[in-house]
C-alpha cells in the first residue's frame, strides 16, 4: 500500500509537471493552429537560464527563477514573431516541421552550454536541506514534487480565470474559434498569437524548472522528459485544455506505477520489458488510446467536407 501511495504521489506530481507543458501545446494549437514541437526545447532553455544565473552567476535563486521563466516566455514570443508569423495559413504539418527546426536550433545552442556534466538549478530553501523530503506514514514526499503540484494547480486556476474574465482571454477564445471572424470583430489576432506563445513559454519555463530541479539535474537528455507531455496532449485531444490536464495525469500515473511495479508486471507477463520501460509506457498508452479514440479522450471530432 505504501508503494502504491508513493507511486500515485510521484505519478501525480509528474502529471502536474507534464500538464504545464501540455497546456502550452494546447493553447498554441487552439489559437494558432500550430503543433509546436519546440515546447520541450523551451522548457530546457528556461531551466538553462535559471541554472546559469543561480549557480554560475550567483544570482539569488528566486530572482533567477523569475528571470528564467520570463525569458523563456520572451523566447517563445520571439520565435512566434520571427519564424512562425510568415507561416500563418500554411499547412499544419509544414509548420509542425518548422518547429522541429526551431527545436534543433535551441537545443544545439543549449547543449553546447550544458556540456557533459549535469547542471544543478540551485536550491530555494537551503535550510530544508538540498531539495529535501519528509515522510508521511512511510511515503516519501519531496518538497519539489509538492511544489510542482501546487504550482500547477495555481497556474491552471489563474489561466482558467484569465480565459473566463479578462479581455484578452476572451479574445483568445474567439481566435481559437475562428481566426478570421475574430479579426473581423476587431480582435488583434497577431497580438493574441504573440500572447499565446508568451504564456506557453512561461508555462514551459515553469515545467523546465520542475523537470530539471533538485537532483534531477539538467542534462542534454532532459528535453526527452518534457517531450513526454506530447503523448499527454494527444491522449486528451489536441484542442482540449481539460483533456491536456487529464492526459498528463494519465501519463504521469502510468509512468509512476510502471516505475514501481515493473518487476511484478514482468513476472505476470513472463518476459522482461527492458530497462527504462516506464519512460516509453506513455507512448504505448497513447498508441492504444488513439487507436480506440482517434481524436483523443476530449478532443472535438473534426468535421470534414469534400
Amino acid at each position: 500500500m505504501t508503494i502504491f501511495l508513493q507511486a500515485t504521489f510521484e505519478g501525480l506530481s509528474l502529471g502536474a509537471i507534464y500538464s504545464l507543458v501540455a497546456i502550452g501545446f494546447v493553447l498554441i494549437y487552439k489559437a494558432t493552429d500550430v503543433l509546436s514541437f519546440a515546447q520541450p526545447a523551451l522548457a530546457v532553455v528556461g531551466a538553462g537560464i535559471i541554472s546559469g544565473l543561480a549557480v554560475d552567476r550567483g544570482v539569488p535563486f528566486w530572482l533567477a527563477l523569475i528571470i528564467g521563466i520570463v525569458f523563456t516566455g520572451l523566447i517563445g514570443l520571439l520565435v512566434e514573431r520571427t519564424f512562425l508569423r510568415p507561416m500563418v495559413g500554411e499547412p499544419v504539418f509544414s509548420v509542425a516541421i518548422l518547429t522541429i527546426g526551431i527545436d534543433i536550433l535551441l537545443r544545439t545552442i543549449l547543449n553546447k552550454w550544458i556540456g557533459i556534466d549535469p547542471r544543478y538549478l540551485g536550491d530555494p530553501f537551503p535550510s530544508f536541506g538540498n531539495f529535501g523530503s519528509f515522510d508521511v506514514s512511510g511515503v516519501t514526499l519531496k518538497y519539489l514534487e509538492i511544489a510542482a503540484l501546487i504550482t500547477a494547480l495555481v497556474l491552471i486556476g489563474i489561466l482558467g480565470v484569465f480565459f473566463k474574465r479578462s479581455k484578452y482571454g476572451i479574445a483568445m477564445r474567439a481566435t481559437s474559434f475562428d481566426q478570421e471572424a475574430a479579426l473581423a470583430q476587431g480582435i488583434n489576432v497577431g497580438r493574441v498569437f504573440g500572447l499565446v506563445w508568451l504564456i506557453a513559454g512561461i508555462l514551459a519555463g515553469f515545467s523546465g524548472f520542475f523537470i530539471t530541479g533538485g537532483f534531477n539535474t539538467l542534462t542534454q537528455a532532459s528535453f526527452v522528459s518534457a517531450l513526454r507531455a506530447l503523448p499527454a496532449v494527444v491522449i486528451g485531444g489536441l484542442d482540449s485544455i481539460a483533456g491536456a490536464v487529464v492526459g498528463s495525469l494519465i501519463i504521469g500515473l502510468t509512468q509512476g506505477y510502471i516505475a514501481y511495479y515493473q518487476l511484478p508486471l514482468e513476472s505476470i507477463v513472463g518476459f522482461t520489458l527492458g530497462s527504462g520501460f516506464s519512460l516509453i509506457a506513455p507512448y504505448l498508452v497513447m498508441f492504444i488510446i488513439l487507436l480506440i479514440k482517434p481524436d483523443g479522450l476530449f478532443g472535438t471530432k473534426e468535421v470534414e467536407r469534400v
Binding site: 503543433l35 519564424f83 510568415p86 507561416m87 500554411e90 499544419v92 504539418f93 509544414s94 509548420v95 509542425a96 516541421i97 518548422l98 522541429i100 527546426g101 526551431i102 534543433i104 536550433l105 544545439t108 545552442i109 547543449n111 553546447k112 506530447l230 503523448p231 494527444v234 489536441l238 522482461t272 527492458g274 530497462s275 527504462g276 520501460f277 519512460l279 516509453i280 507512448y283 504505448l284 497513447m286 498508441f287 488513439l290 487507436l291 482517434p294 481524436d295 483523443g296 470534414e304 469534400v306
Partner: protein
C-alpha cells in the same frame, strides 16, 4: 517537333521517364561517370557519395509515404534500423554477446528490406485509423518504442553504448571484405558497397519514378490531396495506405542494411529521434513529392559537414570553430535550412533547380 521539348502529342510521351533526348544523354553520362567514380575519386569522396546514395534511397522511401501518399511519418529511422539489424543478424559474425549467421549478401539484402516491409505493413492499419497530425504523433511514439527495443534486445543489437558489428560483405560466395585487385586498381570494401549502392539507387530511383506514373502513384496523390474524395472515387484507402507504408519501409530497410556496413559497426543510439527527423528534413530541403528532390537533399545533408569544414579552414579557424565546434555549427545550419526552406522555398532544392532550368530553357527571354 524537335524544337519544342514541352510539346507532347500523346500521353505515353508525356509520362515517359526521360521525355527528351537531352535528358537521356545527360542521364547516360551521369551513369557512366558514376560507375567510373571509384577509379578516379579518393576513398573519402567514395565514402561520402555512397552515404549520400543510401540516404537518398531511405529518403525516397519517406517521400513515397509522406510526399506522395501524404501520410505523415516521423519514425522512418526505425525502419532503417530494422533493415540494419536484420542484415547484421543474417550477415554478421556471431560473438559471445550477439547472434549472427554470416549469410551471403544475396540473402540478407532483400530480406532486410522485406523484414522492414513486413513491420511497415503491420503498422499501416494505424494510418487508416488516424490521419494528419495524430498520425505524425503516433509515428513519433514509434521512434521511442523502436529505440527501446533496439537498446534492450541485446542479443541482436549488442545493447546501448556497445553496439555490434554490421553485416559482412560476401557476395555470391566471394568475400569482398578484404578487397579485390582489378588490373592496377585495388577495389576496396567501400568501393564494392559504392557499386551496390549505385545499382540499388538507380533501380529504386527508377522504381519511385515508375510508382509516380502508375495507377498506384495516382492513387497516392489522390489520397494525399483529399482522402475522402479519393475514397469516393473508389480508391481503397486501407489498401493503398498499406502499399505506401510497405514500399516506404522497404526502401528504408534496404538503405539501412548497407548504410552501416560502411563504418562496419552499429550502435542502437544511432536511431534516435534526430535520426528520424533528419529524413523528414532531407525530404523537405530536397523537395517534397519529387523524385530528384530527396537525392539533392541527401547529397546536401551528407556533404554539409564537409562544406562547413572547408569553410572553417578557409576562415583559418580549422577544427576549433568560432564559438561552436563544427558538428554544432552543422546542426545549427541544418536547423536554419529546415526553417528557411519551409518559409521561403517550400518546394525545396528541387524548386530552385526547376526555376533555374526554366530560366535557362527560355534564355535569353526571362518569361
Amino acid at each position: 517537333m524537335k524544337k519544342r521539348p514541352d510539346l507532347y502529342t500523346n500521353y505515353r510521351n508525356e509520362s515517359s521517364i526521360f521525355p527528351t533526348t537531352f535528358q537521356k544523354f545527360w542521364f547516360g553520362l551521369l551513369l557512366v561517370s558514376s560507375f567510373a567514380a571509384p577509379f578516379i575519386l579518393s576513398s573519402y569522396w567514395v565514402l561520402l557519395i555512397t552515404t549520400s546514395l543510401l540516404i537518398a534511397i531511405a529518403s525516397w522511401g519517406l517521400n513515397v509515404v509522406s510526399g506522395y501518399a501524404g501520410q505523415v511519418n516521423l519514425g522512418h529511422g526505425v525502419f532503417v534500423g530494422i533493415g540494419t539489424y536484420v542484415s547484421s543478424v543474417l550477415g554478421g559474425v556471431a560473438t559471445t554477446s550477439v547472434i549472427g549467421y554470416e549469410l551471403d549478401m544475396i540473402i540478407w539484402l532483400p530480406l532486410s528490406g522485406l523484414a522492414a516491409t513486413l513491420i511497415g505493413i503491420i503498422l499501416s492499419p494505424v494510418s487508416a485509423r488516424l490521419k494528419g497530425l495524430n498520425l505524425g504523433l503516433v509515428t513519433l511514439a514509434l521512434v521511442f518504442i523502436g529505440s527501446h527495443f533496439f537498446s534492450n534486445l541485446k542479443f541482436i543489437t549488442g545493447g546501448a553504448g556497445l553496439g555490434r558489428k554490421a553485416a559482412k560483405l560476401t557476395f555470391m560466395g566471394i568475400d569482398l571484405e578484404a578487397g579485390i585487385t582489378v588490373g592496377n586498381f585495388i577495389l576496396e570494401k567501400n568501393d564494392f558497397i559504392y557499386f551496390f549502392s549505385l545499382i540499388l539507387c538507380i533501380l529504386l530511383g527508377l522504381g519511385v519514378k515508375n510508382i509516380t506514373r502508375s495507377k498506384i502513384g495516382r492513387a497516392f496523390s489522390a489520397i494525399r490531396d483529399r482522402d475522402i474524395a479519393a475514397e469516393a472515387l473508389g480508391i481503397n484507402l486501407f489498401k493503398y495506405k498499406m502499399y505506401a507504408f510497405g514500399i516506404s519501409s522497404f526502401y528504408g530497410g534496404i538503405a539501412g542494411s548497407l548504410l552501416f556496413t560502411l563504418s562496419g559497426g552499429v550502435e542502437p543510439g544511432s536511431f534516435s529521434l534526430l535520426y528520424s527527423i533528419t529524413f523528414v528534413a532531407i525530404v523537405i530541403i530536397g523537395g517534397v513529392g519529387t523524385v530528384l528532390g530527396p537525392l539533392f537533399g541527401a547529397f546536401f545533408f551528407t556533404m554539409l559537414p564537409g562544406i562547413i569544414q572547408a569553410l572553417l579552414h578557409a576562415f583559418g579557424v580549422g577544427d576549433a570553430g568560432f564559438i561552436f565546434n563544427p558538428a554544432e555549427i552543422e546542426r545549427i545550419v541544418f536547423a536554419f535550412f529546415i526553417i528557411f526552406f519551409l518559409i521561403f522555398e517550400p518546394r525545396g532544392m528541387w524548386g530552385i533547380w526547376f526555376r533555374l532550368r526554366n530560366y535557362f530553357k527560355a534564355w535569353p527571354f526571362s518569361y
